[in-house]
Amino acid sequence: MKEKIGKDYPIIESHEGGSIITTKLDDLLNWARSNSLWPLTFGTRCCAIEFMAVGASRHDFSRFGMEVARATPRQADMIVISGSINYKMAPVLKRLYDQMADPKYVMAMGACAISGGPFYYNSYSIVKGADHVIPVDVYIPGCPPRPEAFLFGLMQLQKKIRHERYFSAKKVKK
């Protein structure tokens, strides 16, 4: 008898007896990766407070595997840009991103990180969107985004990770 575990992991199949599963290596990796996203503690503006709130008691993102915030980029899987980036900060952000080990993911939280937000017009020092500095995977709109929005963004990122291919990449037709 083949049993499918969860609707998100159709390919992981457990067999009778429960001690054997068959799957693809890609799926196994993605399953592991998407459920243990460790963020870097990086907060610039107000959204960082909301980010803390998501991590704390009521919303608790460790339900999604985003367990421990790491203070060093070398141990982090993802970076949540919570707040605006200005021209003085941009090289620092770039450097933090470069220090992270692959695979690495970026979430832009809030209007500031997406486009400059409230500081779009007439602010001389704000970079208009963090994606001018580093590539962004998921954008979460809001000023600040609600915790629910953040969790939804997190789930989108997990979905994205689950569709990555490392070993079974499709051959590009010539």
């Binding site: 503690t41 503006r45 107000c46 803390m52 704390a56 200005n86 409230p118 007439n122 001389y124 600040p144």
Partner: protein, 377 residues
């Protein structure tokens, strides 16, 4: 066989070269993007030089092309933990210049919001400070109760953090019908909880050892460095604007300005806890007496301030916040300056931290309750 001899060295005899350590801009204990250049001899701090500007966003320049009705909405992006106080400061300044009398109801609502915001701000500070000192429990306790306040905010004005509630002329909406009930329920619950939270750190031996007598700021220094708010009051500097130049409904309430004498890290910590009790007292005096009537006076969309200069001070969670407007009679301010409490407080750190260990520097910085966008603007 060589003779074995024990050698004891005191820390004065072990000499090392001075070295510079770069703390930040991405560092978990700087609460944002502050960068400190710390000069150390061994573990002893010789000099701290704050480098700021990593989140500078030119708000003062932006205000020069915004109208007076738009500006308050920008200010809650500065000190987001005291968003309502910042809104209120600009509103009060504009009202003062135009000589608009705000309805009593709006004054009461503003004051209640101020104090709720102060509790929320101190709560967040408390949980972050506990984390700085290695106590993770405070993080979960503090943010749990803060959510209750945010729910109250959300019910009335729709936002959790950046409230945009106070506008020139009053407040944006009337309070939610459940507001009074919810606030009272919260106060009842929080009154029971807060002593427990206090015991968690205040009686803790490790915590006391690390904070008592550490990082002393004398009263004279506090005044000279312009350290205001709970940090200034812990040194005995009576700097509460709510007492000195009462605004909104503060003239109607009785409350104590809580003062310390020691000026050390522990006093700064404990004073904030006591301030939360005091805030609850203020709310309790007001919550049942909110007068009926309008919640705002009608203001024109484009307001022109008469020519002149206006300065308005309010007390935020971190200290004295000032709005200084130079108006040339147009619809935009000619120059607007925000005197932020964190900016002055931060630069007193060098004076305090000198001579202490680097671990104490983290504790000292924690008690100053720094919000970096408030410093950088």
């Amino acid at each position: 066989m060589a003779e074995y001899k024990e050698v004891y060295l005191t820390s004065d005899e072990i000499k090392t070269d001075d070295y510079l350590v770069n703390m930040g801009p991405q560092h978990p204990s700087t609460h944002g993007v502050l960068r400190l250049l710390v000069k150390l001899e061994g573990e002893k701090v010789l000099n701290v030089q704050p480098h700021i500007g990593y989140i500078h966003s030119g708000i003062e320049k932006m205000t020069e092309s915004l109208t007076y009705i738009q500006i308050p909405h920008l200010t809650d992006r500065m000190d987001y933990l005291a968003a309502h106080m910042n809104n209120e400061a600009v509103s009060l300044c504009v009202e003062k210049a135009l000589q608009v009398e705000v309805p009593e109801r709006a004054k009461y609502i503003r004051t209640i919001f101020d104090e709720l915001q102060r509790i929320a701000s101190h709560q967040l500070w408390w949980c972050a400070f506990g984390m700085d000192m290695g106590a993770l429990t405070t993080f979960f306790y503090g943010l749990r109760d803060r959510e209750d306040i945010l729910d109250i905010f959300e019910e009335t004005c729709g936002a959790r953090l950046t409230l945009n509630y106070s506008i020139p002329g009053g407040v944006m909406f009337d309070i939610h019908p459940n507001f009074q009930r919810d606030v009272k329920a919260f106060i009842k619950k929080f009154r029971a909880k807060l002593p427990e939270y206090e015991r968690l750190l205040t009686g803790n031996v490790i915590f006391r050892e690390r904070t008592k007598g550490v990082g002393i700021l004398s009263k004279e220094e506090a005044i000279a460095y312009g350290v205001t708010g709970p940090s200034g009051r812990a040194s005995g500097f009576s700097c509460d604007i709510r007492k000195k130049q009462p605004y909104s409904a503060y003239p109607y309430v009785k409350f104590n300005e809580i003062m310390g004498t020691d000026g050390d890290t522990f006093t700064r910590y404990h004073l904030r806890i006591l301030e939360m009790f005091e805030s609850m007292d203020i709310i309790e005096q007001l919550i049942d007496n909110i007068p009926e009537g309008d919640y705002a006076v009608k203001m024109k969309g484009v307001t022109k301030l008469p020519e002149g200069e206006y300065y308005q001070r309010v007390e935020t969670g971190r200290g004295e916040f000032g709005v200084y407007v130079i108006s040339d009679g147009k619809k935009n301010p000619y120059r607007m300056k925000f005197r932020s409490p964190g900016f002055s407080n931060l630069f007193a750190i060098n004076n305090i931290a000198k001579g202490w260990k680097i671990a104490d520097l983290v504790a000292i910085m924690g008690t100053f309750d720094l919000v970096i966008p408030d410093i950088d603007r």
